[in-house]
């Protein structure tokens, strides 16, 4: 028994190895951002003053309203639907369980444009409305902050939904059952047991949602919403002042740090680990009659509005376009675009999740707060708008190239910029955070006691991570892979800027057409992004169904109180 206290050399090495890995990851993420942040050393006060006197106060206000609105929207939709599909059985509940993830495949800029074209003044809805109620009939303004909030909530709620559902299934569900069997009513059980257990998942999901909203600059412009990110791009592209633009980008960063801080607070100090291994999950109750159909209607309308209707609209456009032009529906290079998109998304997902896994475990094994800081730093990339990351990566790679040349190890020219490696690096910098959030929220549910027990029984950290953490957090790891892959498929500014000659993806193709306002022609590539993004989403949903089937097979049903 005394033996376990003495550390072997391997042990020492692996104890040093974990934090080093975490810090290396943090350094790689921070380097490109730091290159741009140097502009802050010599701030352009005139631009700041001019902005403060004109648009900045409005931008701050609209950014805050947008972020708060979208978090409330995604929280209500994400948690509500996760609870509904996990805790109850109603017609179609199994199917909805995975279909509700589908909106994730829809880029927000696509849904934003579709919303305008369908509900806008010239669109079919308002035209019908006017023909029924008269020319001057009132209709709520579509180009507005409120509609922007609704659009973002509709495409982003699956981030919260996924993590909340995973948490309900893995851990919180069985605790709820225990609480209920011990006599707690459903609301009390939810309030005292489920919500605290869900908190890490909800906090992680909401943080991802807020970052996505914060760095968007295409969708908001459709709705005339003026956020700080829009401000950065106006300064950059309008006044051609890169330094001032990167100074303003730090404002976006400040918002992001607030979000990260908020997430920490929400997640709380406590570690709500569960003792159970493979959790039994929640056992759903059957809804009957009107309540059952109401539940079906709610889920059905969300799926219809967020996914089915937009997809059909895109498909109709694509068909109309094909009928109109004599050109073939599919570009000759379609398969190439598809392959490039798939390769890029897979590589990014694997790189991000492996790194996230290392960092998350490093935090678990290293008690030092330094590792925690490193973990938080890796999230920085997600808070920086894509084009800013891309420019930072070019500068970093060129600097690295210069440094290597100085010691006689020059990279081949093509590797320095515009290479697949630089592209994948930028993607990883930008998308590590959603991966890490998902992985951490899974790992947080593994009790700390379990880790320390395994360690004290002589298992090395690597073995603990592989044989104890991984099986318990498996759902979260898969979720992380899916989230990153889907994000990578939709990502545009980075691939646009860093891709090598001839490396076009589906999103680049969509952009080339959409930027010329050729939306009907852009329908097919946009639809292809959605279709391809459905692949990882389906993989995830299959896993969900499999696990649910396993849970149901156990037929573990406590009596009702």
């Amino acid at each position: 028994m005394i033996d376990r206290v003495r550390l072997g050399i391997g042990d020492r090495l692996s104890l040093i190895g974990w934090p080093v890995a975490a810090w290396l990851a943090a350094l790689l993420v921070v380097a490109p951002v730091a290159f741009l942040a140097t502009s802050l050393l010599d701030p352009n006060l005139e631009v700041w003053r001019q902005q403060w006197d004109t648009r900045l106060p409005g931008q701050l206000y609209e950014t805050v309203v947008l972020l708060v609105g979208v978090s409330i929207g995604t929280l209500v939709m994400g948690c509500g639907l996760a609870w509904l599909t996990s805790a109850y059985r109603f017609p179609g509940s199994r199917t909805f369980g995975w279909m509700l993830i589908a909106p994730l495949a829809m880029p927000s800029y696509v849904l934003g444009f579709l919303t305008l074209s369908v509900f806008g003044y010239a669109g079919p809805v308002q035209s019908t409305w006017r023909s029924v109620l008269g020319e001057n009939a009132w209709f709520p303004p579509v180009r507005s902050l409120t509609v922007a909030i609704l659009v973002f909530s509709t495409v982003l709620f699956p981030y919260v939904y996924l993590l909340a559902r995973a948490a309900l299934r893995d851990q919180a569900g069985s605790s709820y059952e225990v609480a209920r069997s011990l006599g707690a009513g459903p609301i009390e059980a939810a309030r005292r047991v489920v919500i605290p257990l869900l908190r890490p998942a909800i906090a992680a999901g909401t943080a991802v949602v807020m970052m996505e909203t914060l760095t968007d600059f295409a969708t908001v412009q459709y709705f005339g919403v003026d956020t700080v990110s829009v401000g950065v791009f106006r300064i950059w592209r309008g006044t051609f002042d890169r330094d001032a633009a990167s100074e303003f980008a730090t404002l976006v960063l400040v918002f992001a740090l607030l979000v990260i801080g908020l997430e920490r607070v929400l997640r709380g100090r406590a570690r709500y680990g569960q003792a159970a291994g493979e959790a039994a999950g929640i056992s759903p109750r059957r809804l009957r009659g009107a309540r059952a159909w109401a539940a079906t209607a709610v889920c059905g309308s969300v799926v219809a509005l967020a996914f089915a209707a937009p997809a059909v609209r895109l498909a109709l456009w694509a068909l109309e376009e094909a009928a109109r032009s004599d050109r073939s529906l599919f570009s000759a290079r379609y398969l190439e675009f598809l392959q490039n998109s798939l390769v890029l998304a897979s590589v990014t997902a694997v790189v991000c999740v492996v790194t996230a896994w290392l960092v998350a475990n490093a935090r678990r094994f290293g008690s030092s707060s330094a590792t925690g800081v490193a973990a938080r730093l890796t999230a920085v990339g997600y808070a920086v708008p894509g084009p800013v990351v891309a420019i930072g990566v070019i500068l970093a790679v060129v600097a690295l190239d210069g440094a290597l040349e100085a010691i006689g190890l020059g990279l081949p020219g093509a590797l320095a910029t515009g290479s697949f490696l630089a592209l994948a690096y930028a993607y990883a910098v930008r998308l590590l955070a959603p991966g890490l959030n998902a992985v951490e929220s899974g790992l947080d549910q593994v009790p700390v006691d379990m880790t320390s027990t395994a360690r004290s029984l002589g298992r090395r950290p690597g073995a603990v991570a592989a044989h104890i953490h991984l099986p318990l957090a498996r759902t979260s790891v898969v979720t992380a892979l899916v989230l990153v892959a889907v994000d990578a498929l939709k990502e545009l500014p980075i691939v646009l800027l860093l891709r090598p000659f001839g490396f076009d993806t589906l999103s680049v193709w969509t952009y080339n057409l959409a930027s010329e306002s050729r939306f009907e022609q852009a329908a097919l590539p946009a639809l292809s992004i959605v279709a391809v993004a459905l692949i990882p989403v389906t993989m995830l949903s299959r896993q969900i169904s499999r696990r649910e089937a396993a849970v149901t097979d156990q037929e573990w049903r406590p009596g009702h109180g």
Binding site: T54, Y121, R143, D226, I235, R237, G502
Partner: protein, 344 residues
């Protein structure tokens, strides 16, 4: 048995993934060879492929190109420095071209062919860049909503209060809006320009793109607006009865505001002579192939525009001959002005 299958399937997935990645990395890092190649970074997307293919057929020089947004591509060339692969940088809007000069992206050219083909107001005085296509930003209106005697004929009158609630205009983040406002500053001085833009802001619904503006005018949400002429040409190509009319602005005065797309040879081009040859071809023999598909006007006065705009919009109209380099340099001032008067 049951647990075996998914494992082996998974590992074959991994192999497939690894193989494709290797292929992608290898294929992208081994580009280049002995053939003559011009590499182009382009912020203009439309019809590049057709024009470039034609150039390759005629000259045997192949072209590789990369599309993107103007500002980012310029940043990429700057950041790449001497390592850049770009021989030619093409972009839309005079402001972008002016900034590229300021940042030292271009190497000045000395080309008689280009000087003859491109009118002086549409190229850089020092030969850093040359305009290649012309787009006019002008007034459009719905003939059902605007009586013949009140059709707006100047940018300035759209600021009058009779247009309140009747205009659709493009947002201030857009370069075309910025250049138009820059031209107002140049002609009227800052104070008068601010008055006009404030009037627009008062009267207009601000939109994210020109197609939305045209569709809103057609549907009756607003009666008039300002757009680039080729967006209307595209809609007319699909639907000849599209209910929006175009009027060339300020014909009794300085003429309609015209902007350009154009390009130059980069400072660190691998083969500047070939790059120059491409630009010369685009401004002469290649003009039609380059401008027609997007319904733009050729810069070269000897080349006829394509039939749809020639017949519908006409060729004989007065163009504001303010130098592109002048209003290009005023773009940032235009953005600040719009901020101050609350034009979103």
């Amino acid at each position: 048995m049951r647990s075996r299958t998914p494992v082996s399937r998974r590992s074959s997935w991994w192999w497939l993934l690894a193989a494709t990645v290797t292929a992608a990395v290898v294929s992208t890092s081994c580009s280049g060879g002995d053939d003559q190649v011009v590499r182009v970074y382009s912020g203009r997307h439309y019809d590049l492929e057709q024009a470039f293919e034609q150039f390759s057929e005629e000259t045997g020089v192949s072209i590789e190109f990369l599309t993107g947004s103007d500002a980012e591509l310029r940043e990429r060339i700057e950041a790449e420095g001497e390592e850049t692969q770009a021989d030619v940088y093409l972009t839309v809007d005079a402001g972008n071209l002016a900034t590229a000069v300021e940042r030292g992206v271009f190497a000045p050219l000395d080309s008689e062919v280009l000087d003859r083909a491109v009118p002086a107001s549409l190229r850089d005085p020092d030969g850093n860049w040359y305009g290649l296509t012309i787009r006019a930003r002008t007034i459009v209106y719905n003939p059902d909503a605007v009586a013949p005697d009140e059709v707006p004929v100047t940018y300035e009158e759209l600021a009058e209060s009779r247009w309140e609630g009747r205009l659709c205009l493009r947002n201030s983040s857009n370069v075309y809006t910025q250049s138009l406002v820059a031209s107002l500053i140049s002609h009227h001085g800052r104070d008068r320009a601010a008055e006009i833009v404030a009037g627009w802001a008062e009267n207009a619904e601000i939109m994210a793109n020109d197609v939305l503006i045209l569709e809103s005018i057609a549907a009756g949400e607003c009666d008039a607006g300002i757009v680039n002429h080729y967006y209307l040409a595209r809609l007319l190509e699909d639907d000849p009865d599209f209910p929006v009319e175009l009027v060339w602005a300020n014909q009794d005065g300085r003429g309609v505001h015209v902007n350009i797309s154009g390009g130059g040879v980069t400072r660190y081009a691998d083969d500047p002579d070939l790059a120059q040859q491409l630009l010369e071809w685009l401004a002469t023999d290649g003009q039609s192939a380059f401008v027609d598909g997007n319904h733009e006007y050729p810069v070269n006065p000897e080349v006829q525009p394509e039939p749809l705009i020639r017949d519908t919009f006409g060729v004989e109209f007065k163009r504001d001959d303010l130098e592109a380099s002048t209003f290009g340099a005023l773009n940032p001032e235009g953005v600040r002005l719009m901020d101050e008067v609350g034009y979103r």
